[in-house]
Symmetry: C2
Subunit: 356 residues, 2 copies
């Protein structure tokens, strides 16, 4: 603890006790050694990176806001940092890109405990290291509002391997990675029982999936490399929203087969016990970072190769049709997706991720 923080030993240190410079140094010391393509790193007016030869650059930005996308009351700091990066890695995965670098922009309330700041940085940097993504810069600023983590991520992909939402054709089959609904169940379990006592194994797993989502980076890269996907989108706003996105961008209809949607048995039971339709609840819930992928029927064999290499299950959940914008599940119209229940699209309200 610095002299400054020690001034008043009766309270825990907050970010207000430190200069921007000192706080940046606390993040920097966690980083992996700078890669050789980083010409100028943290500490100048901007970062300078050498582009990768013969590859396109993929860039995305996504923010998480306390009380909107998470709740500091029950989401630990390292999970906040993890999730802020995960949502962006998921976007890179949906484009078929290999992660490369990120810029971390933090809006910090002055009373944020230094331990929380450190935890947030640790969670973000740990996930970055897993995916060989380097933090090359960022910005710290104070806010009078809630803790906000805005992250810009960049990756690279060969031009012919870019995955978009727009290439699906009627007859293409739709596959989903992993399973859905667990994160939504995990969030509610966490909110209702913060003490974490007597939690069953499946609910521990569900909570873990909400707190530390694993973006499908490897699957996305392999799908791009094998050129097996005609369209791809990530599920940050739920399966329903993802299906609408592909339908809209590709100009196709989509029929999702209700019976095939992959939901863990315990999660399915948990939804049913709450008198919710498990499939609809899971499909319209957020916080799943799976990929929804369209594949030409003749691509099925190649997909099998991707599945083997990616180490992630893919489930066939539906098919693209020639009825533009007709998106159905079990023969009925698919709800408009997560964000669209809310007045401002993805502008999530507290019941989604927060509740403060």
């Amino acid at each position: 603890m610095s002299d400054r923080a020690a001034r008043d030993e009766s309270r825990a240190a907050t970010v207000s006790d430190y200069t921007e410079h000192e706080l940046i140094a606390r993040i920097q010391q966690r980083l992996a050694p700078p890669p050789d393509w980083l010409v100028v790193g943290i500490g100048d007016d901007a970062a300078v990176v050498e582009p990768e030869r013969n590859r396109m650059e993929v860039v995305t930005v996504d923010a998480v806001v306390d009380g909107v996308h998470f709740d500091r009351a029950f989401v630990p700091p390292d999970a906040i940092g993890h999730r802020a990066l995960a949502v962006n890695l998921s976007d890179l995965a949906a484009m078929g890109a290999s992660p490369r670098f990120a810029l971390l922009s933090l809006m910090l309330p002055g009373e944020l405990p230094l331990d929380d700041f450190d935890g947030l940085a640790a969670g973000c940097v740990a996930l970055a290291r897993t995916h060989r993504l380097h933090l090359v810069g960022g910005n710290l600023t104070r806010t009078r509002g809630p803790l906000t983590v805005d992250l810009t991520a960049a990756g690279t992909v060969k031009r012919r391997q870019v995955l978009t939402r727009g290439g699906a054709r009627p007859g293409d089959e739709l596959y989903l990675t992993g399973s859905i609904g667990s994160a939504r169940a995990g969030l509610e379990i966490l909110r209702d029982d913060r003490a974490n006592e007597n939690r069953s194994d499946w609910s521990k797993t569900a909570v873990e999936r909400y707190l530390y989502p694993q973006p499908r980076v490897r699957a996305g890269m392999l799908l791009g490399r094998n050129r097996v996907a005609s369209a791809c989108v990530d599920l940050s706003d739920g399966l329903a929203d993802a299906a609408h996105r592909i339908a809209e961008s590709s100009g196709v209809g989509i029929e999702v087969d209700e019976a095939t949607v992959p939901i863990e048995a315990d999660v399915r039971r948990w939804f049913a016990e709450r008198s919710e339709d498990p499939v609809l609840s899971a499909a319209t819930g957020g916080d799943d970072y799976e990929l929804l992928v369209a594949v030409r029927p003749r691509g099925r064999r190649q997909l099998t190769a991707v599945i083997r290499q990616a180490g992630v299950p893919f489930t066939r959940v539906g098919v693209c049709t020639a009825s533009p914008d007709q998106v159905t599940i079990g023969g009925r119209p698919m709800p408009p997706g997560y964000g669209h229940f809310r007045p401002v699209g993805r502008f999530r309200v507290p019941s989604d991720g927060g509740g403060r």
Copy 2:
């Protein structure tokens, strides 16, 4: 106005009346046609850009927060959008980079009037077009806190033309673009007299400089191209802070000649009337987006060429010395710079840019 907004005609439309999709469309319609290097633009999981051949990429992120960096009570929406981009363009300029693209991340309070949203977008897009920077993507999210605009900007520069803070040597001369102090005066004039009545010509100019700073993009590019600068930094946190940054990164001392610091005569008088030391107040004030540049003595002639082409005045304000970290102004120690008066470095408190 959409049907949704028309529901309650007794009040003005807010962003809450619109979906994310609709709000993004309102920004998109203002954009210039997409450049040919933009492979995938707004509307997919991420943007895809083709890197520029034989050039390095320069990336930076900076946020402006209502009540911290500006105040919605007296800063019009288009100035908020302008300033959010200007601070980032200034960082690119300080690296010698040509602006290329940006990602705009907005944290919006639900009650933000739609007109303010449109104004903010208009201000940002207008400045982007001036500098041929293309908005390739972004993110919109709701916040329960203050309006926050986080902008990531990218530019390009040849490897040998990158300007850093670290190349100054003892004997190098220090030059400053434009003049300082006007923005600080403009902010206070604006805050004290929002009605904008009976404002003199010089104070109108000062207010304009606070609201619509013109980053020194062309000067930065020319300095890089001519390889005349041994170090360069932008003045977002004031001249005092900038001098400390070059001293620190280059391992030199800096002597600023008090008498040469360029401050408009009226601004100088305004400070004096408030019993402030004009030079110290201007040097430690923020919101100036000038460049501080170190030049080898033999580079003086080349600098003259840059000045002629850039159309911006440069003033010699000091010299680098062999006494590492000794930064002085008029023979006395230079104050630690803008942000360092505050407990958290650049974490500005309301009196700097706000006051709500």
